[in-house]
Amino acid sequence: MNSLITMNDLTNDDIHRILLDAEKLLPVAKGNFHLPLLKGKILGNLFFEPSTRTRMSFETAMKRLGGDVINLGAVASSSVVKGETLHDTIRMVDGYSDIIALRHPRQGAAQYASDCAKVPIANAGDGAGHHPTQTMLDLFTIKQAHGKIEKLNVVLVGDLRFGRTVHSLSYALVRFGCKLTLVSPESLRLPEEIVNELKEQGGELTITEDLKPQLKDADVVYMTRIQKERFPDDDEYFRVAGIYKLVANDLASVKKDMIVMHPLPRVDEINPDVDSTRHAAYFEQAFNGVVTRMALLCDMLNVPIPENIGGGN
């Protein structure tokens, strides 16, 4: 029932509705208004690999809505040591909680868990597979800046080969008619099968190694971290990492409402002097993880979001 395993579990209408719900929940997420919509509900946070950011964001989302959280990280690792299957762990946690957020190193784990469980599963990352709540918070950030997610010029920068965040986001953006410019060193290009699939779905793609010329027409510049361990030697890494370093001066002639996003943590893809420009959206993006997950938790638990939260009009 109502699991969120991949973005394909959501129609475009679902996405629009959830983004609207998230917007309505902003005063609750900021702590300005108390709205215990999920009082009495328990979220089972089941993280088989560390991801402090995602785990905390789920936890905060649940607590802002008056719900409770049980963290089963320790249970997960101790069970794994004992050799318990994912099946058995899920069957146990299923009895303790109303919804489960699952992070697991193996691809397909969220679907598998969903087949084992009676409660809904929120996929919080399965290996190199999917991470749909991240995609939703990215879409929410874009919508907050531009008022829409349709037909925007989005520039994706950095490690496009291994970054699952970028893969899911690309599929979602193409669904809404966005134009994608893919900026990466040749060795870290978006995998060809993904490029082909995006094109089949009508995606308009530009592939390049040059970042600077792409900035002028961009509505969104999505930076990602290039990981040192992807390169055979340090020289090659420093050459590539240096190319995609964004500094405040680069933003002198960009569109006024262009935003710079980054899933964080950053290394030095974005110079700290960008933080104080109007374009920096990455800290807001991190906060948006909470409000988007609030909307998703309500949706998965079939709890409607009231209109006019906080007495607004």
Binding site: T6, G83, T85, L86, H87, H104, P105, R106, Q107, G108, A109, Q111, Y112, D115, C116, D126, G127, A128, G129, H130
Partner: protein
């Protein structure tokens, strides 16, 4: 005599059992594996490999004596020989003609080719499930990790 009839006669007729024709050339050994025939403890078996076929270019034929394969067993062949035609033989004549039925999903026929897929984790009890997206060409997708399977690799993963 047609080419098909000629090749049927490369081995002698069987009295009782199952004859599977139109297995793509070279795939008959995988077919045996699918039916859990290990060669040492089985009924008499005849194989014909790589004979010319109008439909397939080359084909294999398999005859298993004194065993009538069930429809459920035969459907497992969909992975390697979706076009196979099957005759159940009783007293030297064809008693029943069967064909492979390709369902929406192949359950516990083969396991996902990606080693980091949850379905390949040790002792996980749920069945191996491959969704049939298309039948020509056969396109299979793992139910769990969602990845499309390379069929050449998948036949090495028969269960």
């Amino acid at each position: 005599m047609t080419a098909d009839e000629q090749s049927m006669r490369r081995v002698t007729a069987i009295r009782n059992g199952t004859v599977i024709d139109h297995i793509p050339g070279g795939m008959v050994l995988q077919a045996l594996q699918i039916f859990n025939v290990d060669g040492r403890h089985s009924n008499p078996i005849s194989l014909v490999m790589n004979v010319p076929s109008r439909k397939l270019g080359t084909k294999d034929i398999l005859k298993i004596e004194d065993r009538e394969l069930t429809q459920e067993e035969l459907d497992r062949l969909a992975l390697i020989a979706p076009m196979a035609s099957v005759s159940i033989i009783r007293n030297y004549s064809v008693a029943e003609k069967l064909s492979i039925q390709i369902g929406d999903e192949m359950i516990n026929v083969a396991h996902c080719i990606y080693s980091n897929c949850i379905s390949n984790a040790e002792r996980e009890p749920l069945p191996h499930r491959l969704k049939v997206l298309k039948t020509s060409p056969m396109t299979l997708q793992c139910h769990y990790c969602g990845r499309i399977q390379n069929l050449d690799r998948l036949v090495n993963n028969l269960l």
